[in-house]
Symmetry: C2
Amino acid sequence: MTILSREWSSWIQDVEASLDKALPPADTFPQVLHEAMRYSTLGGGKRLRAVLAMGACAAVGGDPAQAAGLAAAVEMIHAYSLIHDDLPCMDDDDFRRGKPANHIVYGEAMAVLAGDALLTEAFAELARLPEKYGVSPETAVRIVGELALGAGSRGMVGGQAVDLLSTEQTPDEETLRYIHTHKTGALFKAALRSGALLGGASEEELAAITRYGEWFGLAFQITDDILDEVGDAQSLGKPVGSDRSLGKQTYPRLYGLERSRALAAECVEHCLEALKDFPERAGLLRELASFILQRTH
Amino acid sequence: MTILSREWSSWIQDVEASLDKALPPADTFPQVLHEAMRYSTLGGGKRLRAVLAMGACAAVGGDPAQAAGLAAAVEMIHAYSLIHDDLPCMDDDDFRRGKPANHIVYGEAMAVLAGDALLTEAFAELARLPEKYGVSPETAVRIVGELALGAGSRGMVGGQAVDLLSTEQTPDEETLRYIHTHKTGALFKAALRSGALLGGASEEELAAITRYGEWFGLAFQITDDILDEVGDAQSLGKPVGSDRSLGKQTYPRLYGLERSRALAAECVEHCLEALKDFPERAGLLRELASFILQRTH
């Protein structure tokens, strides 16, 4: 965590605080369900999607504090997707972020429900944006649409479906690209666009943030694949090599490690290029892009 | 289906048409996912939740045609809950509405994803209400909040969690009531309240529709339990006695069949009582309440 600047790490604390406030308290009935929701959402993670949303809000001149509810909603969607992804019928992973996966602790059925409830609660939090954060109803509705499309069958869930269907097949570049732009990239992009909309972005600014998000997502996925091959299980908090053992499509399998690293660096260049007309307020988005090449988890 | 009036059955056709329009086309990539979503959503069902939403909209003087998108969203949420409910790790039901359950046809993993995608798509459709149906953004945001709370951990999913946790325990009236008011009742109520909001309900009208919804949900669940004991498997489209074999809490187990039937009739009386100040426009809601006592599936 040493490479995180003070600014980023302090924003991570803000995200944790907003998540804690946005989630129903752990003693809410039924307690097991609410504990399971909190178990996989609080207390860990880089909060990349949340910080991207706040960074985009700041980049276009908005107040990132106003994006705290949006940030919490985005992290709930991310947490739900990880819970369902780890299920025995999906990727069958027993560990996540260095601790037992949700279904290992709470059982499969409760893990399905905790994921369902987190996805639903994310939209409940978006519905509270006008009252809690002074967001206009027009913008709140547009954000609901952005996140629903980014997280849905033509976004994140679509990517997961293709990932699942293509397991044990010969890698093919088009399929690989679809999986990455959808499974991971779509939610990054939706988080960024939502943050920009909340910050009052012009159409040009929104387009630039969108380009940034597309390159960011691709760079992130390439380094994710690389880390699955060469990373350290302890830093990652999950076993290394699980993609390969599942026969998954990855960049290293398709291009080798060296070319994959060069591709990731190119993507980050494109990220920075997309921000060229942005003032100093885009500093956090620049930092996040550069972080990708250094990340170890 | 003979007891359905022309009006109700024609509204069911409207719901099917809005669902068909609101869901991504079956040839949208990834096709299997979109087929799985459509398989469990289109072509069947009483569309009770959708018709309740349109009925509430009409009851308060709104145009039910304007509630078509809301109706589609509500049915998507219902369909997702059934897909996840039928999973092997949940109720492990192989049949639903007289055809193989989603996971039997598409596999467990795809069924999880199809459910996730339907829940997400429901909110995407709600985000389109202003543009597609001329609903004000204020009302659209409020409806997002109503449905997210009704479907979430303090609503429908909470009820499913308690249902799961209480299986194989001695029935207890408080638990039974919680399960029913949440697992089934919360989405009925949210659909009704959303329809009323969309139709421009006053606070008094909203309160009356809410009371109607609470009694409606309870009556529905009691008759559901009765049908599981004495219904006809072919009409129901699922095996009879599955609640008992799973050791589930039901009204017949707690009170016996006769007292359960009397309780359902009392609930319907309360439904009609809640509508006493409503004009003839509440005819459909009255009809729906009376239908509960006659239903065979």
